[in-house]
């Protein structure tokens, strides 16, 4: 096991307002076009070299309900959600009162001057923006006015904070994919707002942005769903079937968007990947199973309600031993209400999905690079192990934009697993058994439909087959099969992506977490280190766990298991799999629809340790 010793964290994440180190919260009504203005702001700041992230807190609705977009700037590169708001932009009358209350003391409020304002706080600076007037002056086509109105706060923020107008212009052009007219129309509004702000807004000493270097160079700005889609396309995806569901739809849509550029056959001009919008999630999963059985790399992407519907097929893939991949972009569930809020509530459901004794390989990407890598790794594992692999992302990772290293091209051969060709069968004189453990690793050989040999065929059923794939209800036959599946699961432990472990010398406290919690955990550890508590950290990247997880638990006095759900699902799996050490594992679980913050993580750990004393 490689153990990286982390350098002492630098920077002070809880320091007062400083250049390139604060948070902006933009409150709008959804469907008002704020996605464009927020995306442009984020991109302009990114291109100025400032470490940023943007969290879109949006409702399950098309028009009119409150939406917040939180941009955090962190010169030290801490990119978890920040709880504090320094600059509040108020564009939504329905939430303006609570929005204004949110601002930290000494902060700034920019608001649409047509909104009803009850009272002003004394510790906050207010700037009313004449949105309607500025829009009117711009004499824009009537239909566009509402959409372009949001560009007013972009301009005012640019003037207030010092965002370079050339970067705003470039970001607009990027957003409108080079269409100069659309970009120009929006830029005109931005320019008018800048002009107004120059005469009405006073620049603040702390809340400023400045071009910087050392963080964003060579990086890209991308969401996890796009990354996963690109990874699958680079990883041999042949069939993607899906049914629309937030927050996973954008993954399927990205597959469709990028397939022509990435997967058009040079010789014939035809596509080498099929994308099918199915009638429901059951059918989407059935298509994956049918294609996997036939020898193609197939996946579906969905969210919690979808995996519930796919549960029966998940068990079939497990017992009939068919390669299949599901991407579950987690959200709150069930039904509606909070479908646009993030959660890690499907860990249990995914690991044990279906009926009978099933346990699946589950991958936990933590950032876009891992989404890209797992796009391919999931197929490699599914085919090597002839089983279902579930990738658990979540809304925060999947739908929000993240700064990322660019994705690395790989032309390493795909791992297609144990498949017998007609030539192989000829060599064996047709003698083979579909469910026979020839190599002792629990993984049997398979043939694909269409193999030109009259001994290639076998008959697939979920249960009730012997080593040769023949129908059998003999207790011995089935018990032996289940024993082999257990051996196969042990093989899965060895093949699944290893955890990333950061052992800090002298620390007695360990943290185990997963997926998109990573930024919050890292910042939380920095806060704890500032307070004199050093922690070690294991970021789990897959289930089933391997030996390195056990030895990590061994090494520390207390281990906190941190996750964004209510029941502590990973904690419960770890205590089940490591019962001898269960008492050392303490659950820190929170489920409020928001990504975990560093403050929450560090405070919970401190509090728990105090109670322990």
């Amino acid at each position: 096991m490689s153990v990286a010793v982390r350098e002492a964290p630098i920077g002070r994440p809880d320091a007062p307002a400083a250049v390139n180190d604060f948070a902006i919260n933009v409150a709008t009504a959804n469907g008002s076009g704020s996605q464009t203005s927020n995306g442009v702001l984020l991109r302009a700041l990114f291109k100025m070299g400032i470490p940023i992230n943007g969290k879109n807190l949006f409702p399950s609705n098309i028009q009119g309900l409150p939406t917040w977009y939180i941009i955090r700037l962190s010169k030290d590169g801490f990119l978890a959600r920040r709880e504090m708001t320094d600059i509040q932009v108020c564009m939504n009358g329905r939430t303006v009162a609570e929005d204004m209350e949110r601002v930290a003391s000494g902060g700034i409020v920019l608001y649409d001057d047509s909104l009803p304002i009850a009272n002003h706080r004394k510790d906050v600076t207010y700037y009313p923006m004449p949105v309607k007037e500025l829009v009117k002056e711009a004499s824009l086509p009537h239909a566009l006015r509402d959409y372009v109105a949001n560009m007013v706060y972009v301009g005012v923020l640019a003037e207030l904070l010092g965002i370079e107008t050339s970067e705003i212009e470039a970001a607009l052009l990027h957003h409108f994919e080079g269409k100069e007219k659309a970009a120009g129309l929006n830029m005109e509004m931005v320019d008018r707002a800048i002009e107004w702000a120059a005469g009405h807004v006073e620049r603040h000493a702390g809340y400023r942005v400045e071009r910087m270097t050392g963080f964003n160079e060579g990086k890209i700005l991308v969401d996890g769903n796009t990354a996963g889609a690109l990874g699958a396309l680079a990883g041999g995806l042949s069939l993607a079937s899906w049914y629309p569901i937030t927050p996973s739809s954008s993954m399927a849509e990205s597959v469709e968007k990028y397939a022509p550029a990435l997967r058009t056959d040079e010789d014939t001009g035809k596509s080498t990947v099929a994308v099918i919008q199915a009638e429901d999630e059951l059918a989407a999963m059935g298509m994956v199973v049918g294609a996997g059985w036939t020898g193609a790399r197939a996946m579906t992407c969905t969210s919690g309600p979808g995996i519930s519907l796919m549960a029966e097929f998940a068990g079939l893939a497990y017992f009939a031993e068919i390669p299949a991949v599901i991407w579950d972009i987690q959200r709150m569930g069930p039904s509606t209400g909070l479908p646009t809020r993030t959660s890690q509530g499907d860990i249990h459901a995914a690991y044990y999905l279906s009926h009978g004794d099933t346990r699946h390989v589950v991958l936990f990407p933590a950032n876009p690079v891992e989404c890209f890598e797992f796009g391919r790794v999931a197929f490699d594992l599914a085919e090597e192990l002839q089983t279902l692999v579930i990738v658990l992302s979540d809304l925060d990772l999947g739908m929000n934009q993240h700064i990322s290293e660019p994705f690395e091209y790989s032309d390493a051969p795909f791992k297609r697993g144990k498949v017998l060709s007609a030539e192989d069968l000829e060599e064996r004189q047709g003698s083979w058994g579909r469910y026979m453990d020839v190599d002792g690793d629990g993984v049997a050989y398979r043939t694909l439909p269409g193999t030109k040999h009259n001994m290639a065929a076998y008959f697939t059923r979920g249960t009730g087959h012997n080593e040769y794939g023949y129908y059998s209800e003999r207790p011995d036959d089935w018990e032996q099969n289940l024993e082999r599946l257990k051996r196969k699961f042990e093989t899965a432990r060895q093949l699944a992506p290893k955890p990333i472990v950061d052992d800090v010398e002298g620390s007695e406290v360990g943290i185990i977490s997963l997926g998109s919690n990573h930024e919050g955990v890292e910042e939380g550890r920095a806060r704890l280190a500032n307070a004199g508590l050093s922690t070690s950290y294991l970021r789990l990247r897959a289930l089933p766990i391997d030996e390195s997880v056990r030895s990590f638990i061994d090494r520390y006095r207390t281990i906190f298991v941190i996750e964004a759900n209510s029941d502590g699902q990973l904690h419960s799996i770890l205590t089940t799999e490591e019962p001898a050490q269960a008492l050392k594992l303490i659950s820190i679980a929170k489920c409020d629809g928001l990504p975990l913050s560093a403050r929450f993580i560090s405070e919970q750990i401190q509090q728990a340790l105090e109670e322990e004393l």
């Binding site: 700005l221 995806l237 014939t268 298509m287 049918g290 036939t294 079939l316 030109k452």
Partner: protein, 356 residues
Amino acid sequence: MTTAARTRAARATRRAARPARTNRIGLEKTSYRGRPSTLCKGCGHDSVSQRIVNAAWEMGLDQTQVVKLSGIGCSSKTPAYYLGWSHGFNSLHGRMPSVATGAIVANRSLEVIGVSGDGDSASIGIGQFKHAVRRNLPLIYIVENNGVYGLTKGQFSATADEGQVLKYQGLNDLPPLDICMEALTANATFVARSFAGDPKQLEALLKAAINHRGIAVLDIISPCVTFNNHDTSTKSYGFGRANEIRLHDLNFVPEFEEIEIEEYEDELEVELHDGGTIVLKKLDPDHDPKDRTAAYNVIQRSLDEQKLITGLLYISEEEPTFTELLDITETPLAHLPDRKLRPSREALEGVMASLA
């Protein structure tokens, strides 16, 4: 030796002396068999299996390029009983169409035969059935229709007759769904009804279905001898024999066979995409199987009159199939080498540049 035994012995000697009949790819019919059936004796489904064996043998299908799929139920057990050299998949209840979709898209060169029942297709699987039809999936979709659940011992399915009485379930007070009508409203390009006890017609329809390029829905009334073979049921042998009205006399002519059609007074030759033709001799002079409205009328009439009108009700060879619409490579996706399954380095770098 008794006379009977002598006769048997003589027959066996004659059989051994005669060279076994082989088809165009040099195989005897026995090569197309599957494992022994475990269904009840006299089950209509076994007759259908036998017809599939005959049709596949006579057409000279390469079994290694055929896939047999099914859902769950008595009918869905049957793929084990025919075409032993073909891969088979007894999948999930009502979900055969989606598994078929995945298999067909993954390997478009396969001939895919799906077998389902009335519970599997009209009850739990009506959604997947209709969507597979709507997509014009290149799939032979056989429904072995007996109006009853066999494996779970005698419950009504959605095709059970209204007013029918069963031993355990009592009275069925809901109207039936009609498989052919459902297929037609979902824009099926091949809709046929037949009877398990009518080998000649069924084989001709199966051969035509094999040659059809899109989805071929075959609703085969296949009586359940154990749970639903009362003469009052429209899915019984007695009813079938007494009330079957054939729309046409069918004669299927594959492209590789010399065409020998008897002269018919009024007949219609329907050309299938790969050269085969189906020739219909009309009993009902009004029915044109290329006329969708006529097909609706025939089905409605059969429902109104409680008659089993069999034959090719509707066919159209115009519509593109699902694999054609997807615009994927002619080479099956499952056969593409690694280099065709990933982008070029430049293409990925281009995407990275657009995200920088």
